[in-house]
């Protein structure tokens, strides 16, 4: 596999979305790194040109929302080839996608849809992650989904599924801490227990994103958390991030905000908070090492 990409900086980065692109090119803010969705740039040569320019000054992470490693009809090979072209152009620090599926018989359903966790789906996802890693010529990171539902045909937990995927493919994991909190709330499991069960050595990146709490029509009188990436990170997610740092150590962490975009300064302030939390969480360890 290619080793042309640079090492990931162990600090927080922010999402680079098209409405901010011109401002970031012009002002060159002090960001640790930027994450892009390739789907926003592949159909936009002008934006791709600006991204290539930024990639000379900043580490870039490529996070695909369209590879669909869980589709029974196979991954979109044409799309993977297009992503590979972008990857070769910007030499990203990380390339990642989701444990989910989005395509069905040529239709793209524009969502990250749930998979049952069983032997059949594991065999499929293993084969398709292998194919993605071959197609991209590098290691792929797989992100845990935000979940609202389970499936009756699941025979293992999500974290067991992910651990086995790592073991069979050599892929790494992108642990979305907000997704762990949200899914734990929605499906009734302990988020810290989920993090405890993740294979720590496989964690290559963390995500933090905003979610919305709304009336749960499926459970009257209760709230459901909806993954929107449209607001500030909630305090319980920050608390779980601190726990994740103690469990996994400091990792490149993305502030994920995709809709109702705030100012670049707001994004950078959230990133600074993540960096400060990482420094504080790891300080006792550093002191022990020095002392």
């Amino acid at each position: 596999m290619s080793a042309r990409h640079r090492d990931a900086p162990v600090r927080a980065g922010v999402g680079l979305r098209l409405p901010h692109l011109a401002e970031i090119v012009a002002t060159r803010p002090a960001a640790g790194w930027f994450e892009v969705h390739p789907e926003n740039f592949l159909a936009n040569p002008h934006a791709g040109e600006l991204l290539s320019e930024l990639a000379r000054s900043y580490p870039i992470s490529v996070h695909s929302v369209g590879v669909s490693i869980g589709s029974v009809g196979g991954i979109d090979r044409v799309h993977v080839k297009r992503v590979r072209k972008l990857v070769d152009a910007v030499a990203p620090i990380l390339v990642s996608g989701h444990l989910a599926w989005s395509t069905h018989e040529g239709e793209y359903l524009n969502d990250l849809l749930p998979l049952p966790y069983n032997d059949e789906s594991l065999r499929l996802v293993v084969a398709q992650v292998d194919e993605v890693q071959q197609g991209l010529g590098r290691q792929y990171l797989v992100e845990n989904p935000s979940s609202y539902l389970g499936t009756a045909t699941s025979t293992m937990t999500e974290v067991e599924f992910l651990a086995e995927l790592v073991r069979r493919t050599g892929c790494k994991l992108l642990c979305d801490v907000s997704n762990v909190y949200l899914s734990g709330h929605n499906l009734g499991y302990d988020p810290q227990g989920y993090l405890d069960a993740m294979p720590a050595e496989a964690i290559g990146e963390l995500h933090l994103g905003g979610f919305l709490s709304e009336e749960d029509e499926a459970n009257p009188g209760q709230q459901v958390l909806v993954d929107t990436h449209a607001q500030r990170i909630a305090e319980p997610a920050w608390d779980l991030y601190a726990y994740a740092l103690r469990r996994f150590g400091s990792k490149p962490t993305l502030i994920e905000w995709d809709s109702d975009l705030p100012t670049v300064a707001t994004l950078l302030a959230e990133a600074a908070r993540a960096d400060a939390l990482a420094a504080a969480s790891l300080e006792p360890e550093r002191r022990r090492a020095v002392g």
């Binding site: 040109e49 695909s64 499926a218």
Partner: protein, 257 residues
Amino acid sequence: MRLAEFQARVRGAIIDGNVAPLAPLLTGSRDPRKRFAIHQRHYETSLVRTLVGKFPAMEWLAGSPFLTAVASDFIRQSPPRAPCIAEYGEDFPAFVGSRAEANRLPWLRWVGELEWRLGHASLAIEHAPLSIEGLAEIAPERLAGCSTNLQPGLHYLAAPWPVDELLKLFLAGDAPERYALDAEDVFLELRGNRGAFSMTRLEAADFAFRSALARGETIGSAAEQALDADPTFNPGQALVQLIAAGLATAIHDSGEE
């Protein structure tokens, strides 16, 4: 239950709204069908918002409730076929035009066709243009069999309404209270580069010539179509004008050994 059947049922629940066959396969709340509505809502709102956002002039002219309702139908009849949602919606203007409610706005489809092309033109990056010296390298008797590459940001649109005028009003943001629009064939050349774009009206023969070249046809074939539109058309002069304007980037002699 095999995974293929599960995914087919999820697809049916999202696109067709038929959740009943899926519901027994879901867990995680007292009424999983209502939880699944989060996925249905995401498909609807994300795609409708994206589609309507691509056609701001159509929305301005026809109103948000109308365009949103048509977009909601469109995403079920013609779901995206690829993950780059920026490439989704080319057929939306024709779909809008096919609706009975659009009969009172016969020009609306053509405003959308123009917006779609301008949206794509402005994302392009121009290449180094072909020079007159590059053209001179081709022997004159071989020119008719040659084809050209045009700038990636060039698009051509023939419309039965002067929709370029409507778009200019929209962009200027100072539309009059009343505006009379009469049917008229217009032949538009749209040129975009790095976020900027321009619109130029062409004569019918120039349009036939340039749009044929843009489709990859030979210079000879493009000239024939232009001469059909105007017997006084001068292909040599038109080719020189095309190159002088920086619109061509390469010329290929398909018969060259």
